[in-house]
């Protein structure tokens, strides 16, 4: 059992005009192994900033608060150290890496995370199985990472990594965006499969719309407004948002 704990997190970003803007204004969240938390909120409320701050993107500066993984200070770690400690971020806009094939990339990442190269025979089988489950053609493995991938292929590739790297906690940033219903189902199935894995990950599901929550059921829903959690509840909160939207929060803020 692991715990990811975020306490009073304040984060700023440097703006193009030289100014500094505070985006997260005191976020508190506790996620335990096996739990699914949905973070919902209007555009610009700071959902993605939370995701990237946990992963350690250099664009964001933590000005206060703490993030700990089983008591270890995550904010002290470099980006790759965080990943090796068990954090995973499925990105909304995965980056192209020309010249590096998916298969080479996956093997290199797995070796880095585990601290040793995976056993060739089981690894090849695991990759193939995971790709089949995500309806990814085997030719995919020889393509360059994210290069000329469609939106749906990029998201499947992110979830493929989540399944293979077996993190303790996964943050899924707008994984549903740009997916049609069929692709959404496939990707959600993939997340559910990862959730059922023996590593029993906790998941932070960041989404603007509720539609992915029809396929991945959260135990907790947090509504983000203006850089902090404005309301918390169970799955029923997502349902009420479905009907009323974010207007009532925005009016209050």
């Amino acid at each position: 059992m692991s715990t990811l704990e975020i306490r009073d997190l304040h984060v700023t970003v440097d703006e193009a005009d030289g100014g500094v803007k505070e985006i997260l204004r005191g976020v508190d969240l506790t996620i335990r192994s096996g739990e699914v938390h949905a973070i919902m909120g209007p555009n610009g409320s700071g959902k993605s900033t939370l995701a990237y701050s946990i992963a350690g993107h250099p664009k964001y500066t933590v000005t206060g608060g703490s993030v700990t993984l089983d008591g270890e200070d995550v904010l002290e770690m470099s980006v790759d150290e965080r990943a090796r400690a068990g954090l995973f971020l499925a990105m909304q806009y995965p980056v192209e890496v020309p010249g590096v094939t998916v298969s080479n990339f996956l093997r290199t990442a797995k070796t880095a995370i585990d601290g040793e190269a995976p056993k060739l025979r089981t690894w090849v089988k695991d990759v193939k199985q995971a790709m089949d489950d995500l309806r990814m053609d085997s030719a995919f493995a020889e393509r360059n990472v994210n290069e000329h991938f469609s939106g749906g292929e990029k998201k499947r590739h992110e979830i493929l990594q989540m399944q293979l790297l077996k993190p303790k906690f996964a943050v899924l940033d707008e994984t549903d965006s740009g997916l049609d219903v069929d692709a959404l189902k496939v990707v959600s199935e993939g997340v559910n499969k990862a959730l059922a894995g023996e590593n029993n990950p906790g998941v932070l599901l960041i989404t603007h719309y509720t539609r992915i929550l029809r396929y991945i059921t959260p135990q907790f829903v947090h509504v983000f407004v203006d850089g902090k959690v404005a309301e918390e509840g169970g799955p029923e909160l997502a349902e009420s948002l479905e009907e009323t939207g974010y207007d009532r929060f925005l009016a209050r803020a």
């Binding site: 992963a55 250099p58 980056v95």
Partner: protein
């Protein structure tokens, strides 16, 4: 971020036949109406000492190259030829080894090199000979001296051979190379520039492709302060297939310049040019100029040229200029592409977010970038050594800083 410039000419789409058309990405001054008009001569006096404003010199560090423009003869470079049995190799004056039949100097440095070469070298692979081992010609420059050399590589008809020219040492060197591939020959010439960090090298390689011959010229520039290599490819008869490949890695203070001119004067020939380079460190500099001319008589030509630059750190600059002149519409295809991309913070973040440490992430990207060409060299021993050298150079990478990529790269 990647800047891409891509053009493909599809004759089926109706480009007018026999109409002179030039498609150039040169910036500003274009003195010659056609690449065909560029001067060639054995007389040094026919070439003025470059002042820096000439189209073909404007990217080059003339102060460093200055010794190469002088007419004074220096010592000959130390040249060593290692060839498998059956290969003829001789040393003599240029006339004695039959130099100059497939070569005419195209600039001041090459003409001065021709005029001051006392000792030329001939490597001749007899007709129909098929070599199992490469011929290795090692050219060693001398610190503090300006050396001039001329190497003739001749492959008889239907010969199959691989010739490696290895450039080592210091000093300033004018290296003229003449490659003549007979009918049906399959010849690969690899030119390795693994100079000491203070060396300055200007080289002109003229390649003549015989009827139905297949020639590959591969330039690998890793060392030296300045390397400026001009590779000119032409065809003696129809059916020739020429490939020019290049790999370069420019460090801080290093200027690596590669120019190719493919002159399609004969029908039904094919050419393919691909150069890939990485730049790392303050003031690392790379220039790639790819000229292709399809003359009116060269019907049935198929050509493509490609340059890719990978900018690893801030402060480096890559210029990439493809020029395609087409004087006939009756061709199979012609195109070019040029792209300068940056190994940027977002790629680094993505790889690190998957647990891969920064140094390894860089290695992964650079290895992938070069692999497609390095693997085609055909000598595993050389390919492995090059990758190892590239990785050693990489290890010297300073930490990346965050500056908008738009100011770091250039693509014309």
């Amino acid at each position: 971020m990647t800047a891409v410039d891509e053009t493909r000419t599809d004759p089926a789409a109706g480009s007018p036949a026999n109409t002179a058309r030039a498609h150039s990405h040169g910036a500003g001054s274009v003195p010659d109406a056609s690449r065909a008009e560029r001067r060639t001569s054995f007389e040094v006096a026919d070439f003025a000492v470059p002042g820096g404003r000439e189209e073909e010199w404007k990217f080059s560090p003339l102060r460093d190259l200055a010794p190469l423009f002088a007419e004074a003869a220096g010592p000959a470079p130390a040249v060593e030829v290692r060839a498998p049995e059956g290969v003829e190799h001789r040393t003599g004056t240029p006339a004695e080894v039959g130099a100059g039949t497939g070569f005419v100097p195209g600039d001041r440095a090459a003409a001065a090199g021709w005029a001051t070469t006392a000792e030329a070298h001939l490597v001749r692979v007899p007709a129909e000979a098929e070599l199992d081992e490469p011929v290795v010609v090692t050219v060693r420059g001398t610190a503090g001296a300006t050396t001039s050399g001329h190497v003739v590589v001749e492959a008889g008809h239907h010969a199959r051979a691989l010739v490696v020219l290895s450039h080592l040492g210091s000093g300033a060197h004018r290296g003229n190379v003449e490659v003549r591939a007979g009918d049906g020959a399959q010849l690969t010439v690899v030119s390795l520039q693994e100079w000491e960090p203070d060396a300055v090298h200007s080289g002109q390689h003229d390649v003549v492709v015989g009827r139905d011959a297949t020639v590959r010229h591969i330039a690998v520039s890793l060392g030296g302060k300045v390397v400026r290599l001009s590779v000119n490819l032409r065809y003696a008869a129809p059916g020739g297939d020429a490939t020019a490949l290049g790999v370069y890695f420019a460090d801080s203070g290093q200027h690596l310049e590669h120019r190719q001119f493919v002159d399609h004067e004969v029908p039904n020939c094919r050419s393919y040019v691909e150069y890939r380079g990485a730049l790392q460190g303050e003031s690392a500099r790379a220039v790639w100029i790819g000229d292709v001319l399809i003359r009116a008589a060269a019907e049935g030509t198929e050509t493509y040229e490609l340059n890719r630059n990978l900018v690893l750190t801030d402060g480096a600059r890559a210029d990439s200029v493809p020029n395609l002149e087409i004087e006939t519409g009756e061709i199979v295809g012609a195109g070019h592409a040029s792209a300068t991309g940056r190994f940027d913070d977002e790629q680094l973040f993505y790889l690190q977010a998957r647990g891969i440490p920064e140094e390894e992430a860089r290695r992964l990207v650079v290895r992938g970038f070069f692999a497609s060409i390095v693997e085609r060299i055909g000598v595993p021993e050389i390919s492995e050594r090059l990758m190892a050298t590239i990785e050693t150079e990489l290890a010297g990478t300073p930490a990346p800083t965050t500056v908008a990529p738009s100011v770091l790269e250039e693509n014309r």
